[in-house]
């Protein structure tokens, strides 16, 4: 019996070793371990053995079964590994990958958000107002005399109702002060409209970011500190910012802001980037009249306001030469901001 079992085991291991493919391996398993397999057949010979021989033979059979099973497992794993490797045979990993549909936020949204986050650090809250506005909110309340050139219908879009498309987001200053008691510290990003033919540097609908801070004792120094912080956060900590006196009807004193732009391969140059100033007392007087109280009396509060073009900021920041790219939505352009 012992010889027989050893012979079966040797045959089985040899067959397994030579098996090519999982099917042959399975055939070998059935041939040796199956119901009619040789080892199974051998174990049925146990019945003829004596009481003393049985345990010995039993041990031998179990050992043989174990060895054969282990060989089968090892071989199967080896065959599977081989098949897995073969499946990759000839695969050219240098072929292009499977592209995804890319998508992203419009550069104006990205820039606007950056501006909003910076202003929030400074304690500004968001505000908004309608784009179809009254002459009062767009001009009268902002100390713009009836004959001011901006009010001409060659420069401003009017409706038959007498309303107009706001020419600046400064209307939100007025709306905010009408509805909120001081102090107010708000920013208002939004669209504004001017009757400009669309070309490489002009859009008839463009985007602005307006800011207003009104409180007791707001000083020119607050205006300066706030906007310096803003542009350094926007363009880099060492950004130079300068203020040139200017004129706007609704602020006095008024300034234009330049930042020194540093673009690789170009000489640094000053770029005009925003307008700002201290809220003109005439604006506070109009607000007080409109509110019917004196919370905004020019003897009680002072404030500053600023406004900048977001489209222009984007053009400066990314070196965009034609503003129309910002409304054409060509994916080849938008992709570059992903």
């Amino acid at each position: 019996m012992k010889e027989e079992i050893e012979q079966i085991q040797a045959d089985a291991l040899a067959t397994i070793a030579h098996a090519v493919g999982e099917q042959e391996l399975d055939t070998a398993r059935i041939a040796f371990l199956g119901k009619k397999g040789r080892l199974t057949a051998a174990s049925s010979g146990m019945k003829t053995l004596s009481k003393e021989e049985k345990p010995v033979a039993g041990q031998l059979l179990n050992a043989a079964r174990g060895a054969i099973t282990a060989a089968l497992d090892t071989k199967r794993t080896a065959l599977q590994d081989e098949a897995d490797r073969a499946a990759l045979e000839g695969l050219d990993l240098t072929l292009p990958g499977r592209a995804l549909h890319s998508g992203n936020l419009h550069p104006l949204t990205q820039l606007k958000d950056r501006a909003v986050q910076i202003c929030r650090r400074l304690g500004f809250a968001l505000a908004e107002g309608p784009e179809i506005e009254t002459e009062f909110h767009c001009f009268d309340a902002l100390n713009t005399p009836p004959e001011h050139p901006a009010r001409n219908e060659k420069d401003t879009f009017y409706f038959d109702s007498g309303k107009l498309l706001r020419t600046h987001t400064s209307t939100v200053q007025v709306r905010t002060m009408e509805s909120q008691a001081p102090p107010v510290r708000i920013i208002a990003p939004g669209s504004a409209y001017r009757r400009d033919e669309i070309d490489a540097t002009h859009l008839s609908v463009f985007n602005q970011l307006e800011g207003l801070y009104v409180d007791t004792d707001v000083q020119v120094g607050d205006l300066k500190g706030t906007l310096e912080f803003f542009y350094r956060a926007m363009f880099g900590e060492d950004t130079e910012v300068r203020f040139r006196p200017h004129f706007f009807p609704f602020t006095e004193p008024s300034f234009e802001i330049d930042v020194k732009l540093r673009v690789k391969g170009q000489d640094p140059r000053w770029i005009e980037i925003a307008g700002c100033g201290m809220v003109d007392p005439a604006v506070f007087e109009e607000i007080s009249k409109s509110r019917g109280d004196d919370l905004y009396h020019p003897d009680k509060v002072t404030g500053f306001a600023f406004g900048m073009g977001i489209d222009r900021l984007a053009m400066i920041k990314w070196g965009i030469k034609d503003i129309r790219l910002l409304i054409e939505n060509d994916a080849r352009f938008l992709r570059q901001f992903a």
Binding site: E131, P149, E252
Partner: protein, 794 residues
Amino acid sequence: MLVSKNWLSDHLDLSGLSNAEFDDILTFAGVEVEGIEEMGVSSDAVVVAQVKQSDPHPNADRLSVTQVDAGEGELRQIVCGAKNYNVGDKVPCALPGAELRGGFTIGETKMRGVESKGMLCSAVELGLGADHSGLMILPSDWETGKPVRQFVANDTIFEIEITPNRPDLLSHYGMAREVAALTGRDLKEFEFPTSELAPANGAVSVDDQEICPFYTAVNIKGVSVGESPEWLQGKLEAIGLRPINNVVDITNFVLHELGQPLHAFDAAKVTGGIRVRNAQEGEKFAALDEETYELLASDCVISDQSGTALALGGVMGGLHSGVTKTSTDVILESAWFNPPSIRRTARRLILHSDSSYRFERGVDPGGVTNASALAARLIVELAGGTIEGPTLTAGSAPTLTGSVALNQDKLQQLVGGSISMKQANAALGRLGLTATGNGNWKVPSYRLDLQRHIDLAEEVVRVAGLDAIPSRNRSSAAAPGKVDRRYDLELDLKKRLAAFGFYEAHTIKLISDAQLRDALPLRPLQDGDIIRISLPLSEDHSVMRPSLAPGLLATAARNVRQGAKAVRFFEVGRCFRNAGGGKATDLESETLGLVLGGATQPAFWASKHSCHSDAFALKGLLGALLPGALVQFSPAKAGQFLQAAQVVVNGKTIGSFAQLAPSRGRELDLEFPVYLAELDLAKVVELRSGDAPVDELPQFPGSSRDAAMEAPADLANAEIEKAIRKQSEPLLVSFDCFDVFSDPSGEKLAADRKSIAYSFLYRAADRTLKSEEVDAAHQKLLKHLEKTLPIGFR
């Protein structure tokens, strides 16, 4: 405005002040220098040369070959195209190496086969005048060989932006006054000739004192009109004006010298004195620019007593009333017009002149008669003639400036104490204001902009410069308001859409009437809902968009024309419409728009087939945007679209869906099905805003059962889903449709039937369900469906 540095130097000493310093000083005082142009000859290689010989060019009729003496000991051969010189004339000669205006350098060359060693120059080529008709003939006493630079005055022309509040700077004297104040240099004394004033008593009359409060006229007789002397022509040419004749040149000179517009009439064209009147409605006026303008009653006309219009007051002279070579007697006008009325006229007629520019901003009322006196004296000096009688006046110069108090506390608050009162007072003093005690200041008549404390404070800050005021930061915490919260949620939504492979578009809010057919508004548009601009720039931008779809479709079309195989765009923005069919209130609603079409996946080398996005792709996207919400499409009237539906979320309509009509798609070159959706942004944001507690993960396994039912082909999935939900089977966790089959041939299934299969998942929260329990629940559900729907199970 163009300012000549030489001209400015008539009024103050600018020596030692570089152009860059000049630029800085003015720009940082709010008077922006936008351009600096150096005029004249800067190169030493442009020398005085004498033409010694001139022969025709052998190969070119229009050229000559000259031999010139440039002081080099031997003659120099130069080919020249001009004809206006004689042998013996002295002319400017640019030697090889000379750099001329515009940065080009003269070299030795051959012109049509003849050697030319330099260039003989015209005045314009050297920046010495406007004459480009021929060579500049130099005075014969200029020494041959010397640089021309030594004999001519160079000049610098500054282009300066004057803000609308500073009309007092619109002249050389005004600029000189400002530069003097800013630099501390002394303004040279300006001696105005005196003139006798006398009320006109009818010789000059003004109908409307509102439009023209002050009018003056001087009669000058016996002038000889001719060319202006060189100094006067030079001044005008320096700032880009064309000399006309001595009288006209003098009025232009005084305008740019003092800022007071003047006009000279030929007295022979004036019948019986001047009358300033309102135009007749529809009156035609032939102006100096040879255009004819139609006037309104609000326009101011200078006419004679016969009523003939001589000039459009403050704006432009008439075509026939001006001073010409044949004029001998002149009436010189100097007046003060009401700024708004000049502005209205000039803007309406789009007729802008140096005069209207100044009058509409505000001319110094105190300078009207000085300017007149100066011009009259210059006319007598340069054109002869005599001043007849006094200066006739009608009305009087308005007083527009007075005493203004500078509030010390307010100023110190504004600047945070960084500018002392001593500095402030000094600044105002330098600007020509006079302290009258108690913080009061007398404002000169030309500073119309200084009316209030804050106007004086502005001057102090402007002169001190912003560098003098330290920066400060008083930031404090701001609680997020409603707008802040919505902004954050909107940004989250946009980021989510970007992550799903959509580009954000920004389209223009003004669209064309034709684009309205692409609109997919949240609610159907009624008559009168569309908001139109009264005076659009073009038909393409004449309507406020009532929907994002038109812009998104234009975006899709543009991208497909550029080769895109798929369009996946969204836009978040405002749409506009009148409420309820044209009632006065306009509505602005924040809207989310989507456009989807084309390849579901970008091209890939191993993919043999590409597949197009369909309506379910868009529906699936909305489901992904609104996790946990039930997104349903409820079919609606298709209208101009191929199909349309309302987007119903959790039972509420929040927007619209449509498939573009293929015929419209082909017009736009969109060769694949295109799907649109437009959603009420506020509702989308609200649906995404909840902080619902998380669902705990199930502790026990669930069991699923599939069921395929045969149903009429037109039984909607929504009906079946509704029936399933209605059963409210407590063990049913979820169900999904996983197959729909139909056979139009009728072989495997009747053609009017379909097979629709669902997988149902059953689970209990507290135990593992027994198979029998699941079966019982499932059978109960199926029985219910069979009973309530016209279906059978296969």
